[in-house]
Amino acid sequence: MSSFDDHELLWLLAGLAALLLTATAVGQVLERLVATPSGGETVDNVNARVRAWWVMSIAFAIAVASGGVGSVVLFALISFLALREFVTLSPTGRVDHAALVWSFFLVTPAQYVLVGVQWYGLFSILIPVYAFLFVTARLVLAGETERFLERAATIQWGLMACVYCISYAPALLLLDIEGYEGENAKLLFFLVIVVQLSDVFQYVWGKLFGRHPIAPAISPNKTWEGFVGGIACAVLLGTSLWWITPFNPWQAALMALAIALMGFVGGLVMSAIKRDRGVKDYGSLIHGHGGVLDRVDSLLFAAPLFFHLTRFFF
């Protein structure tokens, strides 16, 4: 069955298009209304973000609609670009070259091939166990002991975050849920839309009402007001989307809460790393957003938990 026969998915894509059209319209109105220079800057950034959202949404829609292969390829590409941004910021040197080549060209493709062929057993241990062993082995063969543990840990952390965690999103397609066969693409849609809109809600609430920073040392833009308002909206959104999932409304609400909370923590962790390395963004690939890693930081932490909650309880 092609995904386009699924009317619920068509409705979702239509809803997404409507949302983007609304955001574009609001951005245009704001551009006319806002006169102050600092406000104008914010509006310009918002409009750049909306334009980037169009591109990302279209890519995502094509991937989801094409079924399994499209999603696996899209997320593999995201992992590749995210790992590239992560490694750029990591203090790796010449001696780490071979281990990095392995990470990019062996481990990353292998992980997504396992998602593609739906081999859950190996998929779930490839990076935590085998990349951990073999990449470290390659590193020790390079023969350099200076900051050895730091270098090994950094590479392993990059693989866990950028490849392993992200690959849990397309892995949703390999779940067997009774009475939901062939509809898993909508589960992926649910995860991505809740986690990304949760970021947007937190941003909007923070911009409008934000007063009390939550973690000023890590991310001065994250406020209690943004956190509470944003998470609440994300839960409402998740609840209202229960009909596309195998969950009832209460379960959908709890899932959305779990996704939004993990997403928040993921964003904080990735910010802490940026702070430590003294940069504001991981890259500049996505106009207005920064790098790929800046956009998927919340997904990193939300995807594995959502996958396992669904796998164990449904």
Binding site: F80, L83, R84, E85, V87, T88, T92, G93, R94, H97, A98, L100, V101, F104, F105, G283, S284
Partner: protein, 212 residues
Amino acid sequence: MIAALLAAAARAVAGGTVRWASAPSDDRQRVFFANHTSHLDFILIWASLPPHMRKRARPVAARDYWEAGPLRRYLARKVFRAVLIERAAPAERVDRVDRNPGMRGREAIARMVEVLDREDSLIVFPEGTRGSGVEVAEFKSGLYYLWRERPEVELVPVHLENLNRVLPKGEFIPVPMITRVSFGPPLDCAEGEPKEAFLERARQAVQRLGEP
């Protein structure tokens, strides 16, 4: 066609930010001179140029490296249209191998001037060899003679960052990494400037672009 594919591939693996001090408005002839840290250097500079400038920009490269093997020869001659020159032997070997370094240098300059006279631009690496990627090494004198011969050609400093991490010396497979290519403002040249002062100023122009 192959050139466009390679440019796209180079940007996919090692692409990143490209900064221009002053956007290139016209298609004036230029000599781009950059720090040298990896074999990918000129491919990335070349890929970072706007297409109309790319077509005219020819890298100056060592003959011994680019004529070894049919693939390299093909790429150097047909795709990049490289200007291949004899590499001056390392200083410690000059006595044994290279009996006439001055002669070789003059030949190389003559080749480059010939290319400039055909209205093409050049990409050169005045350090002469790949460096560590941290400090820009002292420049060889070719750039100075090039300027003396053709003072009307604009000299543009270029700084490459992180390329040495993408493909360090002695490695074959590049690691994807975000890089930065910075094109500086053209070098101001005062007539009659002594060689050492000119070369040091040019070197500092590249080094400065690398500072955040």
